[in-house]
Amino acid sequence: MKVARLDGLVRHLILAGFSASIALPLLWVLRVSLTDKLTAYRLPPEIGQIGLHNFVEVLTQYDFTRWFGNSVFVAVLATAISLPAAAMMAYATARYRTGGWPLMMMVLSSQMIPPIVLVLPMFLVFTTLMPVPGIIAITIAHVAINLPFMAWIMISFFDEDTRSLEEAARCDGATRWQAFTRVTIPVAMPGIIAAGLLGFILSWNEFLYALILGNHSSQTLAVGLASLETHAGVNIAPLAAATLLALAPVLILLPFLQKYLIKGLSLGALK
């Protein structure tokens, strides 16, 4: 009994230490974002003037809202283009074994390709096609990350669950397309939405394509924040506020995604 209690104590010490090392840096950024510019630098830390002024400054005096808008545009459009195609592809692979293993292997490999490999030829193609590549080029590039990822994780959503329902619908005279759209999709909807949200986050967090294929007016949040660092020097209070605002949408999605996160991270290998 005594051993068990000691065991539990050590366990929670390790877990608490680990959690603290994950959480403290984030809490420190939160603290910096809430204080005033000068206090942000003072060591030992002082309380200073607590408030939301850094957030107001970021939203009014920087291009933050434009970056945010660009990120939303790119992530939503790239996901909207990819999701239907990915869902149909995943369904065909799961139900009709279309393309067999070569197709599945292709989908898996596509998402493993380093962005630096694809961005070089994309840069050449887009600079030939348009005088200044921009937000459309970034969106198209993001389809290259989104589509294979979403198709891959959705394959397992369609695996077996709905087969008998589809067969019942087919017996009642529904076409294959009707069985897919009216029976399978509604049942698989939570998974499809989760795949879409994970794809949205991939695109939201993407940096390299947005950096190289973008121009000044098409800067996404990641690119904008990276430039803020150089422009604002070490003006850390607004920078902290800006980074937290960039995290907000993703952290809000976290509770909805928790259930699907393992599938997303393990590329469908684990549930």
């Binding site: 030829p121 590039a141 294959r176 940096f207 290998a269």
Partner: protein, 295 residues
Amino acid sequence: MAHVTTMERENRRFGWLLTAPGLVLLAAVVLFPIVWAGITSFFNYSLIFPGYDDFAGLGNYAKAADDGEFLHSAWITLLFVVAVVGIQFVAGFVVALMLNDARRGKTVYYLILLCPLLINPVVVGLMWRMILHPTLGIVNWLLGTVGIEPVNWLGAPDMAFWTVVLVDIWHQVSFMVVLLLAGLSALPAEPYEAARVDGATPFQRFWHITLPMMKPVIVVTLLIRMIFAIKTYDIIYIMTRGGPGVATDLISYFIYRRAFVSLDLGEACAMAAMLLIVIAGLTAVLWRSMRQVQD
């Protein structure tokens, strides 16, 4: 019999119809760029003299294989991947084992550790630059309060490499925890009960039961993390730009510089092609191990 074949043919046709839009998109945004990069890698193509009239054959590949900076970058990348994946695996496994048996507080710990995984790498880099600033950062001040000299986290070559490793560990260690924990919680209970009856120590149980049963999950987790670690670009761009000197010049960042600073697209494409071959090899191994997990 004839009816079945018609049905089968219809099925096949329908499957390809559904797959077509995705295939067209993949061909446009993945296959086409790869082929284009492959073609470019055989030409002396620079952004100063763009054009496909100076055929180089395998010249760019030979140049790359002979390029000390490229080989150095490949070496640094290998060190980075081994360090990052190794430390993340050990730390992640310990935490996953602890969490798996924890009765209280599991959800709280779990939610905290999920946070870094969703954070934009650019934000991670900016955040840590702020925290690790040599004179204005909180970490050096804290070290000072216990009498440790300020550390030049990103200024000295050796230190900068380990700082980048540390930041990547902070960002991605939870990936290991989440996946290994998923694997652990799916293990059957019977072997453990049998071992307890036989009087096995906790270490014996771990070594002879947990580890062998977890092997497929471990392999998949390590491979995925390895492939993603090789691609690391963002935190390098934000934190060190490959420096000081070339101390943190990981391969993705090196190819980026070769293309957009040295403007030598042909050679950059040849290097990208070599990188792609390595990734393809690892992906093939991953493919096989994923099938084992599912069986």
